[in-house]
């Protein structure tokens, strides 16, 4: 894979990972096999755009749940920052720390910005078999919203999808 190449495409198998959601708990992608998973990579806790994006997702959670989908947010911030951030924003989904080795999982999804050392603002919808079905990379500073995720979840439920 060439340096700086694009994010993981639909049709590819999502690499499994196991990342801390709290200091003593890990969350693995394979734990959610059998249900859709939304991965939201984002650059940093506390930055204004991310705050809007993840707060929005916390509010849209009931809609994601209608598709039995889990949402996992991922950045390179350490777990203590994540805990404070999630508490402050009342986030109702796991916020995972891709901290050590830094950005390892983000890189596997092609969602890491080498020059600044942060995850890119990238979204993935993974189906119940662990296959990426939709992915989206946002331009810097643009909050992608939730419309693309919901459309992708709907697509999973079409006859073609299963």
């Amino acid at each position: 894979m060439r340096k700086g190449s694009s994010i993981l495409n639909p049709g590819k198998k999502a690499p499994n990972f196991s990342l801390n959601s709290t200091p003593d708990q890990k969350v693995s992608l394979k734990d959610f096999r059998g249900q859709p998973v939304i991965l939201a990579f984002y650059p940093a806790d506390w930055s204004p755009v991310c705050t809007d994006q993840l707060s929005l997702y916390a509010n849209v959670m009931p809609e994601f749940k209608k598709f039995n989908a889990e949402l996992l947010a991922i950045s390179v911030d350490n777990i203590w920052s994540h805990l404070a951030f999630a508490k402050d924003r009342k986030l109702n989904f796991p916020v995972l720390s891709d901290f050590e080795p830094k950005g390892k999982i983000s890189k596997q999804f092609g969602a890491f910005k080498d020059k600044i050392g942060e995850s890119a603002r990238a979204l993935f919808v993974i189906d119940r078999n662990g296959i990426v079905r939709w992915s989206h990379l946002s331009p810097d500073g643009v909050n992608p919203g939730a419309d693309g995720i919901l459309s992708a979840l709907e697509q999973l439920n079409t006859p073609k999808a299963e």
Partner: protein, 204 residues
């Protein structure tokens, strides 16, 4: 990342987006409003035949919406009869504990024909949203049937409409509050009068 692709397109469009499916960068296109303005349902201020329509998705407790409130007034003043302004609810209830009841308060006033009065009052009194007696006092001053007003808020009569506004916004790409649409296209610039007027003028 994708330095070569981004650099190639940076001259043509400041906001570029990489299409992950094609691996090609494409010109960024802001999302479009999927729920058309319906004067029989929407809160509309201004001439129905106005050439320009500004739609705002807002949360009464959101400080950024509070800051945008006088900006919208400036836009309305500047564009006058050319502009129609529409407000839709987008309460971010997990971070704003009073956002839903404030939206219900505005809708309960709307049921008695006083939406815009209450809308303005709530934005001008964001600091006291936690004290419902403030809005109730204003409802009295407006001459509303306060029994009906209070009952509709307590029984969440307008909750479904607010949630419908919210979901219509989510599907249209509302990504935070406030989010504006200029003639049906999301305005990604600042929520300031100058930027909004510029964006609106570009459509006229």
């Amino acid at each position: 990342m994708a330095t070569t692709t981004t650099a190639r397109h940076s001259r043509t469009a400041r906001r570029t987006l990489l299409d992950p499916a094609s691996k090609q960068a494409e010109t960024y296109e802001p999302p479009k409003l999927l729920v058309p303005v319906d004067p029989s349902r929407d809160h509309v201020q201004g001439d129905a035949k106005a050439v320009l329509t500004l739609v705002q998705y807002g949360d009464f407790q959101c400080p950024f919406c509070g800051a945008a409130y006088p900006e919208v007034k400036k836009v309305q003043k500047e564009l006058g009869s050319k502009l129609r302004f529409v407000f839709r609810n987008f309460p971010l209830t997990n971070i704003h504990e009073f956002a839903m009841v404030a939206a219900e308060t505005a809708e309960a006033a709307s049921a008695q024909g006083k939406f815009w009065e209450m809308h303005d009052f709530l934005y001008e009194h964001q600091a006291t949203l936690g004290d419902h007696s403030v809005a109730l006092g204003y409802a009295k001053k407006l001459g509303l049937d306060t029994q009906r007003f209070e009952r509709e808020i307590a029984q969440h009569v307008h909750e479904k409409r607010i949630k419908d506004d919210f979901m219509g916004g989510v599907r249209s790409g509302v990504n935070g509050t406030p989010t504006f649409y200029v003639n049906g296209v999301r305005h990604d610039g600042p929520a300031e009068a100058e930027a909004l007027v510029e964006s609106l003028r570009a459509k006229s």
